[in-house]
């Protein structure tokens, strides 16, 4: 009897382990298939010319497969959106965790969650039909579909990530630290700035990196709002074509397993590597500076 129980026990343990490995397997499969479909493009262009080539004319004869302008566009929208989302996200997190009464924070927190839940296509649509004409009129620019508009929309997509992860980090700062600071005569603000924030810095950094990772990989917003010109932007009101937008809009037209098709998969590899690095760094910070009681501060 006991034997049968032990067998069930061991079987379940192994079964659960196998299922838990599914995420790793999935991650590897994604890499394998991306590379399998993307690598063939490097028979046509060298890696260097692909990444640093300035011209992306995949359908002309002969075609140009240089994605530098797409990479620059992706980095530009991500950085510009980070300039908006980092302060807004962190300030909101501080407000929820440290200042707001319990009642107020119980209203604001779900609001931030709902903001995160808005489908990206809806935000893209909003940017297209409302924000674009508005920008066009206010700034007197030829098109409202541009780098700035896309960054603004992306910012509101990454704020929830930055805000809720930062809030978790601030929450995990032990109360005794706050009490010690207040007891020494510091004001509430001084306590937040000089004690709570430094203590939660690693968590907030992780939040910022993951928020930016979300922005660089976001597709629908940049597809609908960024303007779509594969040029290196000079002003923030220039239309751009970030990597996800290029993949999403061209894949339907690219003939199956043509050079264009492989080039889009290779763009996917570059995008994947960017977000992979973001995530590894975030994971590393979170793990290395993991808060274990008060002793590690």
């Amino acid at each position: 009897m006991a034997n049968k129980r032990q067998i069930t026990e061991r079987t379940m343990r192994i079964l659960f382990f196998v299922v838990a490995s599914a995420s790793i397997v999935m991650l590897f499969m994604i890499m394998i298939f991306l590379f399998m479909e993307g690598i063939p493009i490097f028979d046509e262009v060298s890696v260097k010319n692909f990444i640093f080539g300035k011209y992306w004319y995949p359908t002309s004869e002969p075609p140009d497969f240089g994605i530098l302008s797409l990479i620059v566009a992706s980095l530009a929208v991500t950085l510009l959106s980070a300039l908006i989302s980092i302060p807004l996200g962190i300030l909101t997190a501080i407000y929820i965790a440290e200042i707001a009464s319990k009642k107020v924070s119980e209203i604001i927190k779900p609001m931030v969650e709902l903001l995160a839940a808005l489908p990206s296509v809806v935000i893209g649509f909003f940017g297209m039909v409302l924000v674009a004409p508005f920008l066009q009129n206010v700034f007197g620019i030829p098109t409202g579909l541009n780098l700035f508009n896309a960054s603004l929309m992306l910012a509101f997509m990454s704020i929830p990530t930055i805000c809720s992860l930062s809030e978790d980090a601030i929450h995990s700062v032990p109360n005794s630290l706050r009490e010690a600071s207040l007891a020494l005569g510091a004001t509430h603000l001084e306590t937040i700035l000089k004690v709570v924030l430094p203590a939660s810095l690693s968590g907030i950094s992780t939040a910022v990196i993951l928020g930016m990772s979300r922005a660089i990989g976001e597709t629908m917003v940049v597809l609908m709002v960024a303007g779509g010109a594969a040029l290196i932007p000079i002003s923030i009101f220039d239309p751009v074509r970030p990597m996800p937008a290029s993949i999403a809009s061209e894949m339907a037209e690219a003939p199956f397993r043509s050079a264009h098709y492989h080039a889009l998969f290779a763009t996917g590899i570059v995008l994947f590597i960017f977000t992979f690095l973001f995530n590894i760094v975030a994971d590393h910070i979170a793990y290395k500076y993991k808060q274990v009681g008060e002793a590690t501060l």
């Binding site: 026990e9 343990r13 079964l15 659960f16 382990f17 838990a20 599914a22 995420s23 790793i24 999935m26 499969m29 994604i30 298939f33 991306l34 399998m36 479909e37 302060p87 807004l88 300030l91 909101t92 200042i99 707001a100 119980e106 779900p110 709902l114 839940a117 808005l118 489908p119 990206s120 296509v121 809806v122 935000i123 893209g124 649509f125 909003f126 297209m128 039909v129 409302l130 509101f156 805000c163 004001t187 509430h188 603000l189 990772s213 990989g217 976001e218 597709t219 597809l223 609908m224 999403a248 894949m251 339907a252 996917g268 995008l271 994947f272 977000t275 973001f278 995530n279 975030a282 793990y287």
Partner: protein, 291 residues
């Protein structure tokens, strides 16, 4: 000291007041953004919504009629995705939270899950195209789209299930083990029932996330137009998010179909935010009861 103490104190308090208002403003901006987007969609979209719109397929080359095939398609895709992701996700979470001991193995699995969560949706779309549609020869179909969306929802389900499992007090487990139950019996009979409400909340959130995604289904499941409703999982479908995108960017009569675009967006928002609201309220009451 050149400044007297009381005036220094006043200055510090004044500064604090100003800075706290800046924090408050930041929080307000977020709330405002949500409000503006939802208000704008409701104000422009509600007139488009009527019985015909919800129960008819598109007509007159998409300029009239309704969005029934899109609603059906989105429901098929998102529910299919969760049926795939939920068993795998819950089992993964059980392993991570109940069986695994700290060590390099668990760390590798966690890194894998975190990275899976960080992969851009369009990369999932590429993977779905290369693996499910082409390699497994599923074609552009509900099953290919649901599998792609399922892979994408996996980290969400694992995360929320783990949270639910962590919320079950250890005393439950100890009591069950103390009575002579095995680990599996404890998990199956004690831990899972206690964690079930939390797991269901996570599942609702997973469905709503899957319903709103566009990029993963662009190459794997969704099409511009199908004349009939899907009858098998190997049929291609229309979907709400893709329908909005197509009407707003690629239609021949973008301005003429504007009201349909708003209407579709409103239905999608209603669906997604509705599910989220249910999950949030449910979780709120759950946490209250726990305390």
């Amino acid at each position: 000291m050149s400044v007297s103490l009381p005036s220094l104190q006043r200055r510090r308090n004044f500064l604090q007041k100003i800075v706290f208002n800046v924090f408050r403003l930041a929080a307000l901006i977020n709330g405002l953004a949500l409000f503006i987007i939802v208000y704008f969609m409701v104000a422009n979209g509600w007139r488009a919504i009527n019985w015909t719109f919800l129960t008819q397929p598109p007509m007159d080359s998409m300029t009239k009629g309704g969005i029934l095939p899109c609603i059906v398609g989105t429901l098929c895709l998102s529910i299919g995705a969760i049926l795939i992701a939920m068993p795998i996700g819950v089992a993964s979470a059980i392993y991570l939270n109940e069986y695994a001991r700290p060590g390099p193995l668990i760390r590798v699995i966690r890194i894998g899950i975190n990275n899976l969560a960080g992969i851009p949706s369009i990369v999932f779309g590429l993977f779905g195209l290369a693996f499910f549609v082409v390699w497994l020869k599923m074609g552009v179909s509900i099953i290919a789209g649901a599998l792609t969306l399922g892979a994408m929802s996996l980290p969400v389900i694992i995360g929320s299930t783990e949270e639910a499992l962590r919320a079950v007090p250890d005393t439950y487990r100890e009591a069950s083990l103390g009575l002579g139950a095995t680990k599996w019996q404890t998990i199956y009979r004690v831990v899972l029932p206690a964690a079930l409400p939390g797991i269901l909340t996570g599942t609702i959130l997973g469905i709503s996330r899957a319903a709103g995604e566009t990029a993963p289904i662009m190459f794997t499941a969704a099409v511009f137009f199908t004349p009939s409703l899907p009858v098998s999982i190997f049929d291609e479908v229309m979907a709400l998010p893709y329908h909005i995108y197509v009407l707003a960017t690629a239609g021949t009569e973008i301005e003429a179909t504007r009201h349909l675009q708003y209407g579709t967006a409103l239905v999608l928002i209603f669906l997604v935010l509705g599910m989220n609201l249910i999950a949030i309220i449910y979780r709120f009451r759950l946490r209250k009861r726990m305390q």
